[in-house]
């Protein structure tokens, strides 16, 4: 074997091999479809093809996620010279029919359960990060290379200086996809300028918001894209080691990433001399242990080092003192997955999509009361209405839209009046919500907003690490007030205490978890205060109007405890 692989050779061999098949059946084997029975569908397809002696003409490919998770298992049939067909709700019977009529018979199944190619769910997407998801076998390096993978890395290593790579990221306007929206190039510059023999690049795959699965899908559908993004980040910043921090609840992503790392090392796309250029970079997967707070960068680093995953004070920032004291940069998985496209196709193409301040695309995980749940990648600035009513297909069973929740437990609810808001960092923040990592939970009219706030507060209470007082004790008490209100035994004073406590927890908590834990309360109170008021029981007016709720000597009811 030659010292380094020739990417074009690999791609040509792969494309040549593909062209020998008349049909290719792409079976989604991402987490959603697997749980709906995709493994059985794949086995059925393969068995039937062998029986029909058609396995030399038809290839069955296990792929990543095509996005339309609620209609799984999904099977895409690609035919030579024809448009591909996407079959939904494929079970064993449907698999038999697909083999008989389409893969062997040569024509799409008559009356089959086919997703129209022009449905808004797909038509309105603009795929950068998810471009290959659902089209390639995530376990095969060759598939990624055949689509053009690792060309950006090769281009950067052979024809660009590290500074030029950072300039390209800067020109693209890429901002952190983990939620806060910090300019990515700024972070890279900090690590680039930090002195140090060793530097680390970390991919944050500790996605934990309820209803969010963007990073999981990126990692289990296109793991090499993450590796390539990390390698580019390392080249640009002078890092020599990378970690991918993945939560233990994502076993499939972990398995596929580890396989991808092994394949990339064998192909010398990672290791002591990447593509023979002398650039050394190695990646290791680190698995979390079930703590949401480890998505916070200082807690994440503590966890990687093998310590208790609690946040620590910043400064020093990770780029000054990170893993084992060395400069470290932490980027979200989706942020890094954007990098190969920016470096490969140039920053202009990337920046052409999106709004003035938010460039590119954003992956959203649709969940809740919508017809189509699943994963979409949309241009920044798309109105929320288009996502909910066109792409997600609106609210099922004739119910009315009530609110969309973005940003998970750190975010907030967006009511119907703001459905035309463009989805970008600034507009969502102005509404008291946030972009977050991309979870989008749609709620219909039957949902009670105080209960939504209670749900998220319960989540924060259970996930608080316990290091700082306001978050540890405050989330418990905020939950208790919300619970009293939801059970219909809350008084006006409970609501007052809840609000004042929310302010203190927001202002005084150590890390983002505590600082943002009151956000769902604030945002539901802002847009749906009357729902809280309706639940309160009559309160005898002990206090003179305008008196502070905590005035010394004020009589307490049984809720006030002592």
């Amino acid at each position: 074997m030659a010292a380094t692989i020739d990417l074009d050779d690999v791609a040509n061999v792969e494309l040549e091999a593909r062209s020998r098949f008349t049909h290719r059946a792409l079976v989604c084997t991402s987490t959603g479809c697997l749980s709906a029975g995709a493994a059985n569908v794949r086995a059925t397809l393969e068995a039937d093809l062998t029986e029909a002696e058609a396995d030399h003409d038809v290839q069955v490919v296990p792929t990543g996620c095509p996005g339309l998770c609620s209609r799984g298992p999904l099977v895409t049939v690609e035919s030579r010279g024809e448009e591909s067909t996407l079959y939904q709700y494929v079970d064993e019977d449907a698999a038999h029919t697909i083999v008989r009529e389409h893969l062997v018979g040569g024509a799409p199944v008559e009356g089959g359960d086919i997703v129209p190619p022009d449905i808004p769910f797909y038509a309105k997407q603009h795929q950068v990060v998810l471009a290959y998801a659902g089209r390639i076998d995530p376990d095969r390096l060759e598939d990624y290379v055949a689509e053009g993978g690792y060309r950006a890395l090769s281009k950067a290593l052979t024809s660009m200086t590290p500074e030029q790579v950072i300039e390209a990221i800067d020109a693209s306007g890429l901002r952190g996809r983990g939620g806060a929206g910090y300019p990515t190039a700024r972070k890279w510059e900090l690590l680039h300028d930090a002195p140090g023999e060793h530097k680390y690049v970390v991919a944050n795959g500790d996605e934990g918001d309820p209803g969010a699965y963007m990073d999981r899908t990126i990692m289990d559908s296109d793991p090499h894209r993450v590796l390539e993004g990390m390698a580019l980040a390392a080249y640009a910043t002078g890092a020599d080691k990378g970690y991918i921090y993945v939560r233990a609840e994502y076993p499939l992503a972990i398995e596929r990433l580890e396989r991808a790392i092994r394949a990339a090392k064998r192909a010398k796309l990672l290791g002591r001399s990447v593509l023979g250029t002398g650039f050394a970079f190695d990646i290791e997967v680190r698995v979390g242990a079930g703590a949401f707070v480890c998505g916070e960068e200082t807690a994440l680093m503590a966890s990687i080092e093998g310590r208790r995953g609690t946040p620590s004070l910043r400064p020093p920032y990770p780029t000054e003192r990170g893993l084992w004291g060395a400069p470290t940069m932490i980027n979200n998985v989706e942020t890094l997955a954007n990098v190969p496209a920016i470096v490969g196709k140039g920053p202009e193409a990337f920046a052409a999509v999106g709004t003035e301040t938010s460039k590119g695309t954003k992956v959203f995980a649709l969940a809740g009361s919508v017809t189509n749940t699943g994963l979409i990648e949309v241009p920044m600035g798309i109105p929320l209405r288009e996502i909910v009513f066109d792409m997600a297909g609106g609210i099922p069973n004739g119910k009315a839209f009530k609110a969309a929740q973005t940003g998970g437990p750190s975010g907030g609810c967006i009511p119907a009046a703001y459905l035309d808001t463009p989805v970008d960092y600034e507009h969502l923040r102005a509404l008291g919500s946030m972009m977050g990592s991309g979870g989008l939970v749609v709620m219909d009219e039957t949902v009670k907003m105080p209960e939504v706030a209670r749900f998220y507060m319960e989540f924060c209470r259970d996930e608080s690490c316990g290091k700082c007082t306001p978050c540890r004790a405050g989330t418990v008490k905020m939950y208790a007030f919300l619970d009293r209100i939801c059970r219909g035994v809350g008084r006006k004073r409970d609501l007052q205490h809840l609000e004042s406590l929310c302010r203190t927890v927001r202002e005084t908590s150590l890390c983002g978890l505590g600082q943002s834990a009151p956000n769902p309360v604030f945002s539901t109170l802002e847009h749906f205060r009357e729902e809280y008021l309706e639940l309160l029981v009559e309160d005898e007016e002990f206090l003179p109007a305008g008196a502070a709720p905590t005035a010394p000597g004020a009589p307490t009811d049984e809720a006030g405890a002592r």
């Binding site: 316990g466 290091k467 007082t469 306001p470 418990v476 202002e507 005084t508 908590s509 002592r562």
Partner: protein, 248 residues
């Protein structure tokens, strides 16, 4: 606090008072040196910075309040150590600490020698608006000399740090998370069975509340002595135990 070289030369304004700070000095160190009181709980001179209690938060003009214990002074910094808003936050944090544990002074060995009690007096916490959380945890009385009452613990981690950093035994750690978080000996074994414990009692003397106490003390009889750590740290820094006769 190790002795500082030279003269303080960083100009800082603290509560309207123009003072000079040492380079690298924390806001808390400066405030204590110039006589401006800032309440603290987890901080203890001689130990590493924890930053968890959030009582020493001050306003530096930044969009977020900063912990004075962990924030270094910078030239021309304008610090407000207290205002109505900060006082309200601090009072509420003290109240939360009371509400989450068993802090009934009338029954406590440490009444009269308790930093939480002092904070409550200072911040006028005379009743609690929140549901009381105890009892959540158990008492560990397995050690022959000392007792740990976890419901009286405020998780300041002074015991964890003093045992690790000063005594070098590392008996203590924090286990579990959030509301369940608690101090454990070893891998969550009874304290009395810990072979690492040297019986030095440093954890007991630095405890700000009645969570750690000497066995056999009745209500109000326990006396803590947290300043001991600063004395030890300073003495160690200055090499007071090194036998210098050989050198001479």
């Amino acid at each position: 606090m190790s002795p500082r070289n030279g003269r303080p030369n960083v100009p800082v304004t603290i509560d309207g008072q123009d003072v000079k700070a040492f380079e690298g000095e924390s806001i808390l160190e400066l405030a204590r040196r110039v006589g401006v009181p800032i309440p603290t709980l987890c901080h203890l001179e001689g130990l590493s910075i924890h930053g968890g209690c959030r009582l020493c938060l001050v306003d530096t003009g930044d969009h977020k309040l900063k912990p004075a214990c962990a924030t270094e002074v910078t030239a021309e910094l304008d610090v407000t150590t207290t205002n109505a808003e900060i006082r309200e936050h601090r009072r509420r944090i003290v109240e939360l600490l009371f509400a989450e544990g068993n802090h009934i002074c009338a029954f406590c060995v440490s009444s009269g020698s308790c930093e939480l009690q002092d904070l409550a007096t200072e911040h006028h916490v005379d009743h609690i608006h929140y549901e009381l959380g105890y009892e959540r945890h158990d008492v560990d009385a397995s050690h022959p000399k000392y007792v740990l009452d976890r419901d009286r613990c405020v998780l300041c981690t002074r015991c964890v740090r003093v045992c690790d950093e000063v005594e070098g035994a590392h008996v203590w750690d924090v286990a579990m998370r959030g509301n369940e978080a608690r101090i454990v000996a070893g891998m969550d074994i009874p304290w009395g069975e810990s072979s690492a414990c040297t019986w030095c009692g440093k954890c007991v003397v630095v405890c700000p509340t009645g969570a750690l106490s000497f066995k056999g003390r009745a209500t109000g009889e326990m006396r803590h002595d947290p300043e001991l750590v600063a004395f030890l740290a300073r003495a160690r820094d200055e090499g007071e135990w090194i036998d210098r006769r050989a050198e001479a």
